[in-house]
Structures are given as structure tokens and as C-alpha cells.
Symmetry: C2
Subunit: 416 residues, 2 copies
């Protein structure tokens, strides 16, 4: 079977594919698998109960049910949900938004495919523009999204050493060159995979740079504010008409309904709407209908603040304690867990690469994600890329605990 250039490019067995295959295999495996790999959210009982109640409610109201299941939404996504969300963001943060500032996509990942390829790549005049990732490690899912090769350019971080074997990445603004071929700047906040949360000062600095250079700033808030709000400290949510704010219903607990959200200037939204209609006709209304009341009333923000964030914060502390105990006596560092639900473990003295460690762990039934996938656009050889792994602590406590103890054993083997 011969495939096109596009086909060959996207068929490569990418980091994202490996991650999703591991996740899928774990779901159907006969053997118990300790899945500390994927980005699946936890099964938080209060959240699940709320969602199940909402689902029953909708199933009992014919008009709502038809809206959720039987009628195509308009190509920008369910109009009522977009209006509710615009009102919520206006009420909470004073952002001057209407539904024309909001488009839904078939998950956040589809939204990034659309955004990156809309803003960057080959232009009609033959020029080529790229996306700047000012901080790596950065999300693995971006890596292969470009229709063109080399869509990303990125920077090493500054590493700040903290107490207790913790560290924190910062943007190296001194080395941040926004070349003329940069089409947009993009950061995730919290950062997937590290759990880093860019400081308000860093974000404001990025806003300034983006505005000065007349390029949009893409803020990937899949885990962040305003919801699901998995950030363990107080941060300022930002939006202005030069910001493209990306959100998702996945990390609240609905990854299988595939709803991504883009909040941006109406020109961007109009373009995304066209892409939606050509590439998918419309997007799912399941998430928008299930969550409309929560968004309309603002309850969704309380849910993040009162249930989801405290849940993951406690899980982070727990996982941190387990990993300290499992690695006692080894040379290791952990990125300070500031949000999302990952621990980013840095093992500078291992005799093997993180990919080899991933393979060894997989053989023992523990799935993590090797760190080298998380440096999209960073061409330079940097040993740090091969010294880290991402560990999710969102799954059942017992699984995470056992997984971490196996990680401890394998790291120990690889350090001596």
C-alpha cells in the first residue's frame, strides 16, 4: 500500500501514538498494568456522580436529549454552550467576550492541529513560518502536528534548584529570540509534562513580547484556569485579543467525549469554524449539553476549586512522598508539582537513557512516558532530554504506589 507524503508523515510511530497505544493496551490487558503513562484523568467519585446525574437528567428531557445526540451543532460548536461560556468568562474575569470569540473542536488535540497549521507552515507567498515554544520540556502531542516538517522551534529552560531535591524550570528570556519567521508563541500552563506553572510574571512578559512582535500567544490551559483549575497556587487567568486560550473538558473528567475549546479573536474563530465544517462538518454536542448548566451557573469553576484541585493536590503530595521513599539514596530531582497530575522525575546519574528505562518498566507492567518525547523543536543535543520520565499520579492510589516502587527498583538498577 502506497501512502502520500502526508500519509507517510503522519503514519510515523510518534510519541503520541506510543502513548495512546500503551494506554489502549493497558485498558484491555489481561495482565494487571500499572498505567502511569497517559493523561487520563482520575475517576473522582463526586465528579462521576455529578456527570452521571446530568446524563440521566438529559436523557429524561427530550429536547435536551435531541440536542445532545440527534442534531448536528453549527460548525463552531453548540451555540448555547458557547454563549454560556462567554458569559461566564465575562462575569468572572471581565473579558469582553461573546460566542463569536469561542469555537469548539473535537478535543484539544484537534484544535492544536488546526491552530498550528492555520498560523504556521507554508504560506501562499512561499515563505515558511514556525511556532515558538519558549520553554521545553513541552507537550508531546504538539510534536508531530505540523503538516510541514520543522514547524516548531524551542528553547532550553533555566533550571532553578529548590530544597528537598525539587527544581523548577523557568523561561530563559535572555535567550528567547522571536525571529521574523515566528507565527505564534505557544506554552502550556500548567506545563504538560512537568507540572510546572509559569509564573504570572513570566506570562505577562510573554504577552508583552507577543504583542510587540505582533504574533498571537497560544495558552494551552488543558489542565489550567479557568477550569479544570488543576493548579496548586493562585494564578491570574489571562486573555486579551492577542491571546488564543485553549481549554478542554477532558481533564474535568470527560476525555471520551472529545471537546476542546478555543477562545480567541473572531478572525481566528471564523477560521477554526471553517476548518471544522470542512474537516468534520461539526463537533460533538455531548460535552456541551452535559456541562451547559454547570457553565451557565459558574458551578464548573467551583467544581474545579472545591473538588478537582484539592483531589489532585493531595494525590501529588502522596505521590511525592512515595517517590522520595522509593528513590531514597539515589541521585534524583523532581520538578516541583505545581499543577496538572504528573511528576517529572530527573535522573542525572542513570547509566541508561530514559527510553531504555521506559522499556524496562514496560516489561514489568509499569507504563510511564520517556522524557525525550517532550522536547518538540529542540534540535540540539542535550543530555537532560534523556534523563527524565513523566509519571502520572491520576490513577488508583494502589496502582500508583506499586508502580512507583517498581520505578524505584529499576532506577536503582540503572544507577549502579
Amino acid at each position: 500500500m502506497k501512502f502520500s507524503k502526508f500519509g507517510n508523515r503522519f503514519r510515523r510511530h510518534t510519541g503520541a501514538r506510543q502513548l495512546m497505544d500503551d494506554l489502549g493496551a493497558a485498558m484491555v490487558s489481561e495482565e494487571p498494568v500499572m498505567m502511569l503513562g497517559g493523561g487520563n484523568p482520575a475517576h473522582i467519585p463526586e465528579v462521576l456522580q455529578l456527570l452521571a446525574e446530568r446524563t440521566r437528567e438529559v436523557a429524561g428531557k427530550p429536547h435536551e436529549f435531541r440536542r445532545m445526540i440527534t442534531d448536528y451543532s453549527s460548525p463552531a460548536g453548540d451555540d448555547r454552550f458557547r454563549a454560556s461560556l462567554a458569559r461566564l468568562l465575562q462575569r468572572e474575569y471581565g473579558w469582553p467576550l461573546g460566542p463569536e470569540h469561542i469555537a469548539l473542536t473535537g478535543g484539544s488535540q484537534s484544535g492544536f492541529f488546526q491552530l498550528f497549521n492555520l498560523l504556521a507552515g507554508v504560506f501562499d507567498d512561499g515563505s515558511f513560518r514556525r511556532i515558538l515554544l519558549p520553554l521545553t520540556p513541552e507537550y508531546v502531542g504538539y510534536t508531530d502536528l505540523g503538516l510541514a516538517e520543522k514547524l516548531f522551534v524551542s528553547n532550553r529552560p533555566i533550571i532553578e534548584y529548590l530544597d528537598d531535591r525539587l527544581f523548577k524550570y523557568h523561561i530563559d528570556f535572555d535567550c528567547l529570540n522571536v525571529e521574523d519567521d515566528i507565527a505564534a508563541i505557544c506554552v502550556s500552563r500548567p506545563t504538560n509534562p512537568t507540572g510546572n506553572v509559569l509564573t504570572d510574571i513570566e506570562v505577562r512578559q510573554l504577552l508583552d513580547i507577543a504583542r510587540t512582535r505582533k504574533v498571537p500567544l497560544i495558552l494551552d490551559n488543558a489542565y489550567g484556569v479557568p477550569f479544570p483549575g488543576i493548579i496548586f497556587q493562585s494564578v491570574e487567568p489571562v486573555w486579551d485579543d492577542n491571546v488564543i486560550l485553549c481549554m478542554s473538558l477532558s481533564k474535568i473528567g470527560l476525555p471520551a467525549v472529545r471537546t476542546g475549546i478555543i477562545v480567541a479573536h473572531p478572525d481566528i474563530i471564523d477560521a477554526i469554524t471553517s476548518l471544522n465544517s470542512v474537516m468534520s462538518l461539526s463537533v460533538s454536542s455531548v460535552g456541551p449539553v452535559l456541562l451547559n448548566d454547570l457553565v451557565e451557573t459558574g458551578q464548573i469553576i467551583e467544581l474545579g476549586r472545591d473538588v478537582i484541585r484539592p483531589y489532585y493536590h493531595a494525590r501529588a503530595d502522596q505521590a511525592l512522598a512515595w517517590i522520595r521513599s522509593a528513590l531514597d539514596g539515589c541521585e534524583y530531582f523532581i520538578h516541583r508539582p505545581e499543577g496538572a497530575f504528573f511528576l517529572w522525575l530527573w535522573l542525572p546519574e542513570m547509566s541508561i537513557t530514559c527510553d531504555e528505562l521506559y522499556q524496562r518498566l514496560k516489561k514489568r507492567g509499569v507504563i510511564v512516558v520517556p522524557g525525550h518525547h517532550f522536547f518538540p523543536g529542540l534540535e540540539e543535543d542535550w543530555s537532560h532530554k534523556h534523563e527524565c520520565i513523566r509519571i502520572s499520579y491520576s490513577q488508583q492510589a494502589e496502582t500508583v504506589c506499586r508502580g512507583i516502587s517498581v520505578i524505584g527498583e529499576e532506577v536503582r538498577n540503572a544507577c549502579h
Copy 2:
């Protein structure tokens, strides 16, 4: 805002966008709109009731509910559903299928985006391959799916005149040249927009040609067999490992959950799986979980045969009678309604184009789709392209009836 070449290409206001915008606008309009445009399925009470019951059931079973909402599927789509469907197709038709022959996509349209661009377009060796549509009119949604321009090449049909102002399109096999640059052959069955159903003989002939020319045959069964089965006569469902069979849950009644299905050789499925994981991480599990039992038991085929098909067949007869009465005395022809839920009206003596008729009807609150959108890849000037409209008869009877009477008035105005 400057957009890339890809962006500019996909931002064009396409037929699909117009159609989906009309549909979305109709949903939120204050004025009553007679929506005879989009491909929204009917609200069939038995189907809605069944789906609502299933939804309540799933909401009451924590394990099922988590599967539907809270857990990412593997990138090929929910594994259990794919296995159930493979068993069903094997049982019913003897096709030698396993789950490795099936991938789900975020709706049929996304599946076609992936398939067309995987198989055709620019190749690594610099060559360019195209998709052959052996029969036009053909589905508007294909038109703009190519990452490259001019992805489609297509043929005029043979027109067979039948009694009672009916006609039927046939593939003109004498003029069907499968040039060396053809990557795949694609037909919808029933044809969207005409309600034509290719005969078993035509399909077998296409199978032979495709196999001889060593290119796959893509069969778009969105409205067809095995489900939803909206075909008003008995036809033979076909699959072999040179066929790429595309199906959907939309026309059963679940367009808002966005589930497309591709049944093909495992090499194709593996490629689609990679595309899913890179472009969307995974696909929604809502449709697969809601319908799994129906697929597992085969009830989904009975639902098509006993409920959905008879429903639309009756609606077709009804709409045909209304249109005959509305156009009495005009020069008109109607494609024999053999499946799907559209009437394809041919008005050879109008003094205006179908696009102008569409505009006039829209002003009067009646939305149809002008026929010229349905000739993807047919470059030649052919007056027939501008003489047809597609009328959906899936919406409420009263709406369809009133809409058709307005169409009658406007056609009359345009014929004298």
C-alpha cells in the same frame, strides 16, 4: 491576521460550510425556518426512545459510564465496539474481519479527510495521485477535503428517463478512464445528494475495475447497508480486502456524537489509527458505548430494517406526492428516490441558476442545497450542474410540506 496556505485553502467559504452554517442558523433562528437543507436525520420516536433508554442504562452502570465518558479509548476507537462490529459483520455477511480491520473516526467526514489525503495528493517521489469519483452528482462534503488542490476527477452520469417524470443516474462505464494517477475510486451508496442506489451490477463492475487497476474502492455507506440501511430495495452489502467501507452512526440518529467507522485492510486501519492519535489523540466513545449492545446482538440491523428504512420510505413517498402537486404543470424531473432522505429535483427549464433559486428560497425561509455543489472534480461546463437542488425530507412533515409548496411557487416564478 495572516494565515498559511493550508489556512487559506480551508477557510474558503465552501459548500460544506454554507450547508452547516445554514443548519446552525436555522437551529437558533427566531423566525421559523423550513430546513430542507442539511443532512440531519429525522427524530424517529422509536429510535430516540431506545437511545434515551440506553443512555439512562449506561448512566446507571459506573463501569459503562466511565468507559463512555471518563476514559480515553485507544486511538483506533473503543476496542470492544470494534470487536462487536467485526463479529456482527462476520456473522451476517461472512466477511473475514477482526477488530484490526476497523477504525473509528470523529465522524465520517473526518474519516474521509484522513482517507483521501492518505491515499492521494503529493507523494514523496513528487508524483501526484487523485481520487476518481465515477459518478457525479456526488457528496458535497468531499469537495474541499484535499490538502492539495484538484484532488478529485469525476465523470458525468448516464441519465435514464423513467416513467412519471422520474429518472436515474448510472455510471458511464464506457467513459470511465482509470488513469495511472488514480489512487482510489470512491462512491457513496446511496448517493448523497440524489438518493440513487448504485445497482449490484454497477458495484461489482467497480470492484473488478478497482482490483484490476490495483487501487482500493471506497464505498461510502453513510446512509446505506449494513446500517442504517436507508435503501428502499434489496441490495448486496459488499466488502473485500480491496474495499474501504465507510459507515457512520449519524444517520441512525446520532450525528451529534460524531462517530465514523472505517472497515478496511489492516494496513489502512493502522494508518488511520496513527492519524487519529496524532490529530486527535483518540475518538469519542459515546456512540460506541451507547450502541455496543445493539451491535453485539445484531439488533442494530433490525432497527434499520424494521424502523428506520420504513420510516424514510414512507417519508419519501409523501414528499414525492407533495412535490408532484407543487410542480404540477412545470417542466421537472426527480431522481427516483431509492435511499437516503433527499429528493433531487432537476429543473431543466428554469431561467435562473439553482444558486439563485437557493437564494430566493432562503429569503422565504426555506433552506435547500443548490445542486452545483455536488459535482466535485467535474471541471467541464455542463448546464445540468446548475439545474438541480437537493431537498431533505427528514424533518417534520408539516415543515417539509410547507417548504415544498414554497419551492413550487419559486420554481414556477423562475420558469415563466
